[in-house]
């Protein structure tokens, strides 16, 4: 990432939000931060947050690129369901783990390719184009599993979501690695620039010699791949493919994470690190609500409030306005 202050700014707000939440939790329940060793691996609320959050992080990773190109992918939740269904059916049939995982990611890539073609080649508006798979995808997943919740009995598969290496949880490690690799790829090569360019002004990028349509399509494919892997993690986590419930509303969380992380829905500049923090923030909030004991009926409120707060802080106009009020006050006093 560039060292310019501009790029770093968006990361500040989710970081502050995260810090506030951690303090709140630690005050409400001092055990919150306690990490112990249990059966040779780390154990504690922060570990849970990372493990549970890893699936949303993965979705946010793909979504970041799609949003950076000026689009949005509403179908990720359905792709999670499809990919989970594929995993379950294949594992049930005794397919090797590697093949299964490849198939899961492959299903995501396929879905992403459909979205990419619809958006980038045919020019359908992203919300509409991806809504189609969002709506139809869950039906497809249900067809794959025949309307059943299919139980997965493969410890090695389960390891993906709940395993530990060197005492550390595997899923967050994997996801963290993917974030890092993506970040390196995007910023060390020109790919990140291309994505931002296409998102900022597609026509101008095309005129400058970029294959803008290809860049956009690839963003959807990447997003699909992430969703596919996230689907495998989801299935591994509950040891079952739940075509009806898996990934429900996941697209909202992913979009929230990206937006809270400072990437604008209008496209252009993006922040991979921001999306990571955004997803972490959202998961921490969810866990906080359990920890603090917010009654289930009002549970959606804090999330809404958090998102509005971060969005407000990120809005230049709002900051300017606040600054203006302060100056005016100071002036009035003087």
């Amino acid at each position: 990432m560039s060292d310019s202050a501009l790029r770093k700014t968006p990361v500040i707000w989710p970081l502050i939000g995260l810090a506030l939440l951690v303090v709140l939790n630690a005050v409400m329940n001092p055990a919150f931060l306690r990490i112990t060793l249990l059966g040779g691996h780390v154990y504690g609320v922060p570990v849970d947050i990372l493990v549970q959050g890893s699936r949303t992080m993965l979705l946010a990773l793909g979504m970041t690129l799609v949003i950076a190109t000026g689009g949005v992918d509403l179908s990720v939740g359905s792709v999670v369901a499809i990919s989970g269904a594929v995993c379950a059916i294949l594992l049930q049939g005794g397919t090797a783990l590697a093949v299964t995982l490849a198939a899961a990611v492959g299903a995501g890539v396929f879905a992403g390719a459909i979205n990419g073609v619809l958006v980038a080649r045919i020019g359908i508006q992203p919300i509409v184009a991806t809504l189609i798979l969002m709506v139809a995808g869950r039906g497809i997943a249900q067809l794959i599993v025949g309307g059943q919740v299919i139980i997965i009995a493969s410890p090695r598969f389960e390891f993906l979501a709940t395993g530990f290496v060197f005492g550390l949880p595997f899923a967050p490690l994997l996801v963290g690695l993917l974030f890092f690799a993506t970040h390196l790829f995007l910023r060390r090569t020109a790919a990140g620039l291309f994505v931002e360019a296409v998102g900022d002004n597609e026509t101008a990028s095309r005129f400058a010699g970029l294959a803008a349509a290809r860049v956009k399509a690839l963003a959807y494919v990447f997003c699909g791949a992430c969703a596919g892997l996230s689907g495998a993690l989801t299935a591994a986590n509950i040891r079952a493919a739940d075509a009806y419930g898996a990934g429900a509303n996941a697209e909202l969380d992913a979009i929230f994470a990206v937006v809270v992380g400072g990437t604008a829905l209008t496209g252009g500049r993006f922040s991979i690190l921001g999306s990571f923090l955004g997803a972490l923030l959202i998961q921490t909030l969810t866990t906080t609500m359990y920890n603090v004991g917010v009654p289930p009926a009002v549970a959606p409120m804090p999330k809404a409030l958090l998102i509005i707060a971060v969005s407000l802080l990120q809005s230049e106009r709002f900051r300017g306005w606040i600054a203006g009020v302060r100056t005016r006050k100071r002036r009035a006093i003087a």
């Binding site: 309307g147 059943q148 509950i238 009806y244 359990y290 920890n291």
Partner: protein, 295 residues
């Protein structure tokens, strides 16, 4: 017994296909119809009442012998039910009842008694824990009827036992992943003080079991687990000793519905409210049913 000359035609307006329970319910209705030679006109409402109303209207125009509705929502049925009455077609409601000012608009309701299920769970607990223990409750989707009833019934059921205390309650949305996630947090929050988990459905209970195991505790032993639905997987868990008790919420409505329809068409009187029989499975009886369980 006297067989009707023409095979019966029955219209069934199903809610949708949102869960394994619903799928089992649909399958039961369809396969039982096939078995009995009934011509079943099936319609999937996709979770929307207007779709169901439309389906019912088309059943009326097609002149079916009886109409079965699994209503998506409790209200707003009066106009179409009046049309059915005008056409002299008996209407059976299943699964969920409706709210109406005119109870004569439908012949009878066959359902699962969510309240009774919650009460059975509470009673079992009271009996098997000696009326003592700290409970965490995994609630269903906020605002949904089963969650409301199962919460109310359980609370009322344990009220008689001051030793049974609800420590914490969170919604797991009836989903396995959420059940697991909520349970993980509650385990950390309450440490080893949790004695009992009461889950509004098996999916959440199964998720919670995973969380408990990952926390190094033994579900069914260190923590008593009670849930509702009795899907095959949960009964297996009872056999394995990971769930202590699961109260059935039987989706196999087919036989009862068609029996009732036949009675109605034969002019017999049937009670206004019928409950599909729900059983309770614990270590005493789970092993005997698990093999034959279809869903």
């Amino acid at each position: 017994r006297p067989r009707p000359k023409k095979p019966l035609t029955i219209g069934f307006a199903q809610t949708g296909a949102e869960s394994a329970w619903r799928t089992a319910n649909t399958v039961s209705m369809k396969s039982e119809a096939e078995k009995r030679g009934i011509d079943l006109k099936f319609s999937d409402g996709q979770g929307k009442q207007e779709n169901q109303i439309r389906a019912v209207r088309s059943f009326i125009t097609q002149g079916v012998d009886a109409i079965v509705i699994a209503p998506v929502v409790e209200t707003g049925w009066d106009p179409v039910l009046r049309e059915a009455r005008r056409a002299r077609i008996p209407v059976i409601l299943t699964d969920r009842s409706i709210q109406t000012s005119d109870e004569s608009l439908f012949s009878c309701f066959i359902g699962s008694d969510f309240y009774e299920e919650g009460r059975m769970a509470a009673d079992w607990l009271a009996k098997h824990t000696g009326g003592k223990g700290r409970i965490v409750e995994l609630q269903g989707t906020v605002g949904s009827a089963p969650a409301n009833e199962r919460r109310k019934a359980f609370a009322e059921g344990i009220a008689k036992y001051p030793g049974l205390k609800i420590l914490d309650a969170q919604s797991g949305d009836f989903r396995r992943a959420n059940g697991k996630e909520v349970m993980e947090s509650l385990l950390k929050k309450h440490g080893r003080t949790i004695d009992i988990v009461y889950a509004h459905n098996d999916d959440m209970a199964l998720g919670a079991i995973q969380a408990i195991e990952e926390a190094g505790q033994k579900p069914g032993k260190d923590i008593v687990i009670v849930s509702i639905d009795a899907i095959k997987e949960a009964i297996q868990a009872v056999v394995d000793g990971k769930i202590n008790c699961t109260v059935e919420c039987n989706p196999l409505f087919g036989p009862k519905v068609y029996d009732t329809a036949a009675k109605l068409l034969a002019g017999e009187k049937v009670p206004k409210k019928l409950f599909n029989k729900d059983e309770l499975f614990d270590h005493t009886n789970a092993a005997t049913v698990v093999a034959s369980r279809q869903y």
